[in-house]
């Protein structure tokens, strides 16, 4: 009896640790979910004399993708982001993070530019307001400008299929 108790205790501990090991410590729950997208106004990457503000997107469900030309995982996820943008399900806005125009523009030329518009956050200030800590990051923002989803790290076809698209469709239907 006592022996089995010890075994049961041990197995419970193993189960607890197994679950703990599977959790991704990089997945920090964002306190911004359900909150209004922080306000900003930034120059465009491709047209420095024009600006973009999150208010320009009010009334639409949209996706914001934070990327940089110096970030290898951004290149990895780029086909997925491009595919999402091509599908036309929601406009995808780029936030170019701590980058230089002379690096970012050739990068887009090489890899394609799926973005509706790209805001240029050279100092990374706006990204701090959005709690960005590991590019790439992707946000889904609803019609009222509320952040509904945040992904840290590259988008994968699976995440797009299982999370992003259903969420965007649902948000587009309601409200």
């Amino acid at each position: 009896m006592r022996f089995w108790l010890v075994i049961a205790g041990f197995l419970a501990l193993v189960a607890l640790l197994a679950v703990g090991l599977r959790l991704d410590p990089r997945e920090v729950p964002s306190p911004l979910i359900g909150k209004p997208a922080p306000a900003f106004e930034l120059p465009l990457l491709e047209q420095p004399d024009k600006t973009f503000s999150e208010k320009d997107m009010l009334g639409k469900v949209w996706v914001m993708n934070v990327w940089a030309s110096w970030c290898p995982p951004c290149l990895v996820e780029h086909p997925v982001v491009s595919e999402l943008a091509r599908s036309g399900i929601a406009p995808v806005v780029g936030l170019n993070y701590k980058d230089a125009r002379e690096d970012a523009l050739p990068w887009l030329k090489r890899n394609g530019d799926p973005f509706k518009v790209i805001a240029f956050d050279a100092a990374g200030r706006i990204a701090i307001d959005y709690g960005v800590y590991g590019v790439p990051e992707t946000y889904v923002i609803d019609r009222k400008g509320i952040i509904r989803y945040k992904r840290v790290g590259p988008l994968t076809p699976e995440i797009t299929q299982k999370k992003l698209r259903p969420l965007i469709e649902e948000l587009a239907k309601g409200g």
Partner: protein, 140 residues
């Protein structure tokens, strides 16, 4: 070689001078930076980390303190963006009760089990005459 040495000496002096611009402010910045987790390299504080984001966040702290904000304001600013996880010392609240009290609960449980076990241990039973003789025989 001598020139290289001189140049590096100048660099060191320049950096020291910069640090001393406002030592009191710098101390407050570093004290706060020690309380905040660097999310890029999660086991370091933003004071210890040289990640670009940690540098940016240290600059944020410096600017906000310079602008007259309090330590509390800066912490709230960080938590609003990065969540409680950014605090190196997690706050005590409903979701962290287990984290804070768990070790003490386990310790208490362990002590309780130990005490129970020690108390319960009955004194060794008296030996019968035959056993006593056999023991004496074995010991010889």
């Amino acid at each position: 070689m001598a020139r290289l040495f001189l140049v590096s000496l100048l660099f060191v002096l320049a950096f020291q001078a910069r640090g001393q611009e406002d030592p009191a402010l710098e101390r407050r910045v570093m004290a706060l930076a020690h309380e905040l987790r660097c999310l890029v390299c999660q086991n370091q504080t933003i004071a210890d980390s040289n990640a670009a984001l940690a540098q940016d966040l240290r600059n944020q702290i410096r600017e906000q303190l310079k602008a007259g904000k309090s330590e509390r304001d800066v912490i709230d600013f960080m938590v609003a963006r990065y969540g409680d996880f950014v605090l190196y010392r997690p706050p005590f609240k409903a979701t962290t009760v287990a984290l804070w009290t768990g070790p003490f609960v386990l310790l208490a449980l362990g002590v309780w089990l130990l005490v129970r076990r020690v108390r319960k241990k009955a004194p060794a039973p008296e030996l019968t005459e035959a056993e006593r003789r056999r023991a004496a025989q074995l010991l010889e």
